[in-house]
Symmetry: C2
Subunit: 365 residues, 2 copies
């Protein structure tokens, strides 16, 4: 399902292609997050117009609402949300372990819905079944996610449970049109991370996620974990760093050889009035933009930058117009997709190091 197209000579950066029944996905790729079956404020057509080929949806949220019965009636999430490109669902692990009052046993997790207090049970088998009904092209093993920081003993026990759950996830996985990825756990302990990866490779998956990073640990520490892991990961399988969306971090991780990313960061900051540009983040709400006839980003070719000015978008934020959220969200997602396209081009032209340095410098603003 994955082939490497180009390998940069000076860094670990590479371009590749994931082939799914919903088309081919060029990597490195960033996935917009469509938690509830829609990337916040945006439509499926807009994501397609931006040229996204892979997006992420949350199995846990969609299981609760609208529920599997409805998704089943539509023959899966693709049809339900009218999305005809690649789709990845996470297993629900991360969301469930963010809840309070969960009860974790070896069998799985009992939790209460934050929507109506109803009782539910998730396990590797349940999660895979849910993801089968949702019908994404890539699905994730069900794992236990810990916060940061966490005691070493707890991290070890949890990682070992997640690896036993990875075995059960694989056993439960039957639909061979869906690729099941394993997820490396082990908190910030390099040895635990290595062990986790070894276990997953023994089980065998067509791709590997790196979980429980970018959850509050220092950026340096995250970089170190990834640095220690990447050389151990199989070259010919996609590497997916879960939960990353800052341009500077994407750039860094692409350099280290990561292929896939997802994050709600670009749409979340957009709703707060922040926009990503080639010269770093700008706070579009800032009064200094009140007369500014320039687009959000002079170097961006998205429809928002072609049609609207900073002054207009600032005004929309100022008066609470929903259109403000849309324009900023659209631009930010367009920008991130563009960043990965530029990275792929630089890698293909064996020019990534120079692209990396120039982009890193420019992003400082």
């Amino acid at each position: 399902m994955f082939r490497i197209i180009s390998q940069d000579k000076k860094t670990e950066a590479r371009t590749g292609e994931i082939a799914t029944t919903h088309g081919k996905i060029l990597t490195p790729a960033f996935m917009p997050v469509a938690t509830m079956g829609a990337a916040k404020t945006l439509s499926s057509e807009e994501l397609e117009e931006m040229d996204y080929k892979l997006i992420l949806a949350n199995a846990f949220h969609l299981y609760l609402k609208p529920g599997l019965k409805i998704i089943k009636k539509f023959g899966g999430l693709h049809n339900f949300m009218n999305w005809n490109q690649g789709l990845l669902t996470d297993s629900g692990g991360y969301q469930i372990f963010s809840l309070k009052n969960t009860k974790v046993t070896e069998e799985g997790v009992n939790f209460r819905s934050s929507l109506d207090g109803s009782s539910h049970f998730f396990s590797p088998e349940v999660s895979i079944k849910v993801q089968e009904i949702l019908g994404a092209d890539i699905i994730m093993a069900f794992d236990e996610c810990l916060g940061y920081p966490v005691e070493c003993k707890r991290a070890k026990e949890s990682m070992e449970r997640s690896m036993r759950w990875a075995i059960r996830s694989k056993k439960a996985h039957r639909n061979n049109k869906q690729f099941l990825f394993g997820i490396v756990q082990g908190s910030t302990d390099k040895d635990l991370r290595r062990t986790s990866l070894e276990r997953l490779e023994e089980i065998g998956f067509p791709g590997y996620g790196i979980g429980s990073l970018s959850i509050g640990e220092p950026e340096e520490m995250m970089f170190e974990i990834v640095d220690s892991l990447i050389p151990l990961m199989p070259e010919n399988k996609p590497r997916y760093l879960m939960g990353l969306g800052k341009p500077s971090q994407l750039l860094e991780m692409i350099k280290k050889g990561v292929d896939l990313f997802d994050s709600s960061f670009p749409t979340r900051i957009a709703r707060n009035g922040s926009c990503l540009t080639h010269q770093g983040k700008i706070i579009i709400r800032d009064s200094k933009f009140k007369n500014d006839t320039a687009p959000i980003d002079e170097n961006c070719s998205c429809p928002v930058c072609r049609n609207y000015t900073r002054a207009y978008i600032r005004h929309l934020f100022n008066v609470g117009e929903v259109l403000a959220l849309r324009l900023a969200s659209y631009h930010n997602l367009f920008y991130l997709n563009h960043l990965t396209k530029e990275a792929r081009k630089a890698i293909a032209e064996n020019n990534f190091s120079s692209f990396y340095s120039l982009t890193k410098e420019a992003l400082k603003g």
Copy 2:
């Protein structure tokens, strides 16, 4: 600026064309309301894509935010909001008289901004100046608006003041690229309405608004006022019934010979989860739609109806996704524009009576 294209033989319905420097507007026409320089949740491109040729913006709101200095810098509201079709601004009268603690004198109105408490003064001269800077194709005389019900003496005095203000509005109006419309006042008193219209005709305007209707009076009463006024209005000038947006009311008023309408109704009900259809209004939030694979309106060709189902849109409302508001708003505005298109076609084919009866019946659901 206005010519009649077809006159229905059995009713007062007619089609016409208003020629502005931003293109031609076919009537009867409905105007989406872009109070702050954006139709709620929607972009200028979307209004253009829906084939709207005329929209309304509020002079009062834009005067307060972003303020005239910024709009001036952009050379007017068209540029500021990137809208290249026809634009109409109201004078601010209606908005100002909805405020508390206003002080009205013959000279004008002192009021405090509801945004920051700052003091402001509007008069016919100020309103026309503001509208000149906004640069709409059609602008409105500054008038005093009363609520419903109101004492006859008060209605008479106010109407007479509005007529004196209409004289001052016309005197202050200099930009001959902008068409200034007078506004008929006189509350629910037919004699006052007739007197108001006569005064306006003496002053002479290229078009006439009917103000202070659809503000709480019984629908019957509104119909009667319009019935009494229309035969007195000049045939060769556009007739604009301010603040109307319900499909059944539009249909009725088109039959009576009204040419222009505006209302925030379609976008306001959309945000509450109501959608307009050929079979009347539906509450898309209703649980009966939870499994419904049909579009909002089977007979609608808008992108929302082509791409999304009732079940999906209901789900988006259910989980609070902004996209829900967008899809319902887009559909409702598309539907109203389509309704006026169908009406124009029926009038042109001298078939309006039959169209009227069938549509009225269908709208009952």
